[in-house]
């Protein structure tokens, strides 16, 4: 298992490197990379500044050297400065990171507590009304555009009914888990979570059905083990493996979803920052955001691999 984890660790590092290579390649693919930082005839770029930029980007050196030096900068935490406000990119990202992580975690928790129990219910009561409701819930969740769901929830629960706020994430003065704070989370995290809950539901349901149909459950039944014990002790534990393995893939979905949802709800996080950066042509911010998300994704993937190997002793790599 140790060998497997070491291999996965290096695969993760390779993935992050590949992400930097893709971003770097793209930035050099569009003709003059200087234009990414300063549009021709743009405001306030003096010849001296242009010269400084050229030196910073090391355009006189060969491409591979440019990439390696840039990578060294990144490893030292030097992501450059934002173009508009001329702040350190790392500081801007650090300021916004908390909001995004909070939203993603809230959505993930919500998706799990909606998806997994509904999936079990759906499998145990297969063919009943509950099963149809659960599957309908999943099918709708997978088909709704996240950003539109967010807008519709704003329309219904904020504009029409005036039940829940949106637009910021509260004053941050009150206690973290207080209603005053949490009510800002309800709409955005539900909008992100529905699609993820749908995936959890379908996976849990099919895994549960498979386990309930297996020989060892039949044996337990024939020995006279009660229904509840079978469901929770025999079936549930085994049925948890597929949902767990997709958790990392789900993280990608949550990140994508939260980028869009942050725009809809004016949530002060990384996703909104990235979209703003696209509109402002702020390349350094976008680079850093992409690399940050890629690293998070690789990290979560690695954790999942570890958990996977721990939970299912049958798996030997």
């Amino acid at each position: 298992m140790r060998k497997f984890l070491i291999r996965r660790f290096f695969a993760g590092i390779l993935s992050i490197l590949a992400a930097t290579a893709i971003v770097f390649g793209l930035s050099r693919a569009a003709g003059d990379p200087l234009l990414l930082y300063a549009k021709p005839g743009g405001y306030g770029v003096t010849p001296e500044q242009e010269q400084a930029l050229k030196e910073k980007l090391r355009l006189d050196k060969p491409l591979i050297v440019q990439y390696l030096l840039w990578l060294t900068d990144l490893l030292q935490g030097d992501f450059g400065k934002t173009l508009l406000a001329e702040q350190e990119v790392t500081k801007v990202i650090g300021d916004k990171m908390g909001a995004t992580v909070q939203l993603a975690v809230a959505s993930w928790v919500l998706a799990t507590i909606m998806g997994v129990p509904l999936g079990i219910l759906s499998a145990v009561l297969r063919g009943s009304v509950w099963d149809y409701l659960g599957r309908g819930f999943a099918l709708i969740g997978q088909s709704l555009p996240t950003f539109w769901l967010g807008l519709m929830m704003i329309l219904l629960f904020n504009t029409r009914l005036d039940w829940l706020p949106f637009g910021t994430r509260g004053s941050g003065e009150s206690f973290f888990l207080s209603w005053d704070n949490l009510r800002y989370f309800i709409l955005p995290s539900f909008a992100v979570a529905w699609g993820a809950a749908a995936v959890y539901l379908r996976l849990t349901r099919s895994a549960m059905l498979e386990v309930l149909d297996s020989e060892f459950v039949k044996l337990a039944r024939s020995k006279g083990v009660g229904g509840t014990t079978i469901i929770w002790k025999h079936a549930f534990r085994n049925a948890l493996i597929p949902p767990l393995t997709v958790s990392s893939l789900m993280m990608a979905g949550l990140i994508t979803g939260s980028v869009v949802i942050e725009v809809v709800f004016s949530w002060p996080g990384l996703g909104r920052l990235a979209v703003q950066a696209v509109q402002d042509n702020d390349f350094p911010i976008l680079t850093a955001t992409v690399l940050f998300f890629a690293s998070v994704f690789v990290f979560v993937n690695f954790i999942t691999d570890v958990l996977y190997a721990l939970i299912d002793p049958r798996i030997r790599y």
Partner: protein, 336 residues
């Protein structure tokens, strides 16, 4: 229409085996049985999508970019609602323009702004109808190009094995770790948003789903006796792949493709919504929602109707994908 005739055909076939329906063919219970067995409702939705996409110019009551600022944010006219607004509007246009000035009066008031107008006074219905065409073109081009790319890589990886397989599979792993939406935004900042760019991006999203499954299938198929005997008989690699392996993969390819369409439509809509997809004023559905976003409180029709269109189409594709999978390849149940 085609859909109606197929419905009727299936109905008559089913009546032979259905004793309940013999007395009266269309009992509610029987109709429910047919609807549950065959994906009729999704098929109708998709037929409507294709027809509106192909005949958008003929079906749309107005040009998708023609605007009339007097009717900014005009409410929808369906079900004869909002008649007060529209009575006033008729008076307004009479008062503002001299009698006989047909250009200034409301053109054909019976079908103008059936689904309301957007913030620039453009007909929402016409824009949705033209949006169907864009959705159709973008999704189908991306789906088929991605399919060809993904199938090729999957088959090559499985068939050749060894170092080729290793390299290609690591590529897929790495690709899964890159946040697609953000990468698309990087591409947009560099190349400027355009229709071609979004198609390329969607192809890059579409290919990866096929590789792992097809590689696995090829690994088992290539060990079969009939492939071995083809090789002994001197068939070329290309012939073996095209004639002996691909036919066995068709079901899997079809299932994965049908489950993938919905995701592509959603990705396109999300990118367009973020301003990183199809540039406005092209009436892609995501663009319509982005345009109407600021007015969601005061003019809900600008976002509700295009969003419903996306939702119904993706729902239909997902439903159809599930149905196709259950029919063709129950082993892929774990896929989603």
């Amino acid at each position: 229409m085609a859909i109606e005739s197929t419905t009727r055909e299936t109905a008559s076939v089913q009546t032979d085996s259905e004793p309940v329906a013999r007395q009266w063919r269309f009992t509610p219970a029987y109709l429910w049985y047919v609807v549950r067995r065959w994906p009729i409702i999704p098929a109708v939705i998709l037929a409507v999508l294709v027809i509106t996409g192909v005949f958008a110019d003929q079906l749309a009551p107005y040009d998708e970019n023609e605007n009339d600022l007097r009717f900014r944010n005009a409410p929808p006219r369906i079900f004869n609602t909002n008649s007060e607004y529209w009575d006033n509007a008729a008076d307004l246009s009479q008062a503002l323009f001299t009698p006989g000035d047909t250009a200034g009066a409301i053109k054909d008031p019976s079908n103008r702004y059936i689904l309301g107008a957007d913030h620039a006074g453009r007909d929402v219905l016409s824009r949705i109808i033209h949006g169907a065409r864009i959705s159709l073109v973008v999704t189908s081009v991306a789906l088929f190009s991605g399919l060809i790319l993904g199938v090729t890589i999957g088959v090559v990886s499985g068939y050749y094995g060894g170092i080729v397989d290793e390299i290609l599979m690591r590529m897929v792993d790495i690709w899964y770790a890159v946040p697609f939406l953000l990468l698309a935004m990087v591409a947009v900042i560099i190349f400027e948003a355009s229709l071609n760019l979004i198609i390329v991006l969607l192809i890059l999203l579409a290919w990866s789903g096929y590789v792992r499954n097809l590689r696995g299938e090829v690994l088992s198929l290539k060990e079969r006796d009939y492939v071995a005997s083809a090789r002994v008989n001197g068939a070329s690699t290309f012939r073996i792949i095209a004639k002996h392996l691909l036919p066995g993969l068709v079901n899997t390819i079809f299932v994965i493709a049908s489950l993938r369409v919905g995701q592509l439509i959603l990705a396109e809509a999300s990118l367009s919504f973020l301003g990183a997809g199809i540039p406005g004023p092209t009436p892609a559905w995501g663009v319509l929602i982005a345009d109407g976003r600021e007015y969601v409180g005061s003019a809900w029709w600008q976002t509700v109707f295009p969003g419903t269109a996306i939702f119904l189409v993706v729902l239909a594709f997902n439903f159809l994908g599930d149905w196709v999978r259950d029919r063709l390849d129950p082993r892929l149940r774990q896929l989603d």
